[in-house]
Amino acid sequence: MSDLVVLLIAFPLAVGALLLVVRDAAARNAVVVAACAVVAVATVAAALSFPNAPAFFGLPGAVPLGALDSAILTAEAGLALFVVVVGLRHRRPLGPAMALAQLGIAAWLELTGRLNEPDPGRLFWFDRLTLVLVLIVGLVGPAICVHALGYMRDYQRSYPRTRGRRTSFFGLLFIFLGAMFGLVTSNDLPLLHVFWEATTLCSFLLIGYTRTEETIGYAFRALEMNLLGGLGFSVAILLLAGQPGGLDLARLTSGPAGSAVLPAVALLALAGLAKSAQMPFSSWLLGAMHAPSPTSALLHSSTMVKAGVFLLLRLAPAMAGSAVGSLVAFVGLLTFLAVSFAAVTERNTKTVLAYSTIASLGLVTGCAGVGVPETVWVGVLIVIFHAVAKSLLFLVVGTLENRLYTKDMEQFDGLLSRMRRLSVLALTGIAGMFIAPFGLVIAKWAAIKAFLDVPGWQGAAFLLVMAFGSSLTIFYWGKLLLKVLSTRAVAAEERTLEARVSRFEWAAETALAAAVVAVAAGVGLISEHVVTPYASAAFHAPPRTMLAIPPLTIGLLLLAVLALPVLALWASRRTDYDLTDFYASGRTASAGHRIGGALGTTRQVTLRNYYLEGIVDGRLVFRAGTLVCGLLLAVLVGQGLVSLA
């Protein structure tokens, strides 16, 4: 087990370093495909060797702890130095200041010897939640890297002036995978912090890939918000150092936190909120959508943002019943509501996917904050469904973007007639996100059930937010779904668009679509063998059974997820369209589908989705949510300071 985990961390890091110097496209393709195969096989091997009980272990062989401490400090110094250099070069002093503060804390703890010696046999922690995250990183991650081979070739061809380099792009993707494996397996908080900050830096560099003024601005926004969370993490380490067993994540989260460690738990939760783009930190994820689509799929939907909710789920037993837990729950659910509202008014497909990602993470955050076995059960299931289905959707939108040169939902009219195969893949992903009774819908139903049991007015408030927010998600998914499903008469040349999609992209998207179906089929097994035992172990009490699904129901679930793509395939065969002249029952006012309406108005006749124009300002809702959640967090921090003083 320990050998495999170290391999999963070290191998992608080594491949990443190699890819930083491979300039030849064919050689890069070969290295990436081979490395992805190795990572996927090692991931499956690690999952199979999981001993069915939480395992703690150290580094294989006799590595002196002093060497590990120095390695952590060196890594912290390297990361901080990098932030200082880029921050000063672009005249953005905030990032360097926070990075130096973190380094200062790490160095002070190390030099004064206040850091508790970590237990050499408990550096890593592999339990069922680790298993879930390792499978996501190790199977979804490689699929996205393979997809990127095709996507980035077309991307570079259509933006000939971009200054980005694929050598650094693929190198960073693999370095990120290594850091992510380290993040989800670490039990020692200083070690976890190094990986945490490494993913932040990878995200920063990948968002700024094209190195235009615009993307550099978004990259810095993401960096600064995540460094703020990372600084909270550092201060938490500072507060926990010296507490007995304090830097051991498993011990810290083995039960409700005492008043001595609660401020540190709150700061760790702050880091989790920033990482998973919860309000008031949500705007960094919207800016991150300017990165190439594989980055959005890997870092900004399926893995890195999951690290935030992963930490929050870990902290759930420690936060349970405390003011910290309630605040985290409120922030998560308010974020869910506000971004679902904003998503309804948005027509850029990638932005809709980003809002929906923040919303799903908000639900998980809410579940972690409520902190009972049932909600944690829901949270883990959402993490699984979302990682698979949303990354598929991001990849499909990426492929569409390279063929149609647009992310505007309104330009996807007749997609099923124009790009049949891609539409079917998209429909599978959309079905995985919201079609009843599959996937997230089960999770949402279970969340509603769990919130009913939350005592007092809080439960009622959570329930209202949940019900109202969920109806909004149906609205925006429905709009996207119907655009993809629509058929129309298309010119012969439009049917050739799909022929140019690379086999890398087809392979990755087909694999992820199969994963969506597999997760649907296996939801009962996943619940029984992974999620329920995890929730029981975390809270020392089993969740009241949410899901005892008989095989027949599983079959019906599968039918539901497959019905949409299969029916779509059948519908797409139609080509005999009767094209008739435009007619609306009004007085034609001018060319271009304008008709005279009542009271002398002239109206444009359009066939398009409704974005609540003039009724709801999505950006305003977003800002209001950010403000409210920012105030809530200020209360959280203020309380912590008071309790410390």
Partner: protein, 129 residues
């Protein structure tokens, strides 16, 4: 309002794109050959050029893009072309480079919906302003 020069010898495509750009409030001039395009840039001083690579029965559009990029470095260029269907795998592989394989801002393979072209044009004009 901006002045857009369309260089395309596919009459139907050029007309559709010109109509869409005009509907968006821009002034559009259309020329069918590389020589006419070079002359039009000099004479009309457009704000942006959309050009096809396949002109004059060969790949003259590629040379036109390079010439314009040298003579008018501030002029945004969009290549909107059917060339991909005619390029050999060897040429396509040679173009598989990071940046700088052609001095244009955007390289779009036909077919492209007129509305999408309008969006790209306006996005570039905004960036250039």
């Amino acid at each position: 309002m901006a002045h857009i020069l369309l260089v395309d010898d596919e009459v139907a495509v050029a007309a559709r794109n010109a109509a869409a750009l005009e509907a968006a409030g821009h002034m559009v001039s259309v020329v069918p050959t590389a020589a006419a395009a070079f002359e039009a840039v000099r004479r009309l001083d457009p704000d942006l050029v959309v050009l096809e690579a396949m002109l004059d029965g060969s790949f003259a559009g590629f040379d036109l893009a390079r010439t314009l990029a040298t003579s008018h470095p501030e002029l945004p260029l969009i290549m909107l072309t059917r060339a991909d269907e005619h390029l050999s795998p060897a040429v396509l592989a040679a173009q598989d480079r990071d940046g700088g394989w052609l001095p244009v801002e955007r390289y779009l393979a036909k077919p492209v919906l007129p509305d999408v072209l309008v969006y790209e044009v306006e996005h570039l004009l905004e960036a250039a302003a």
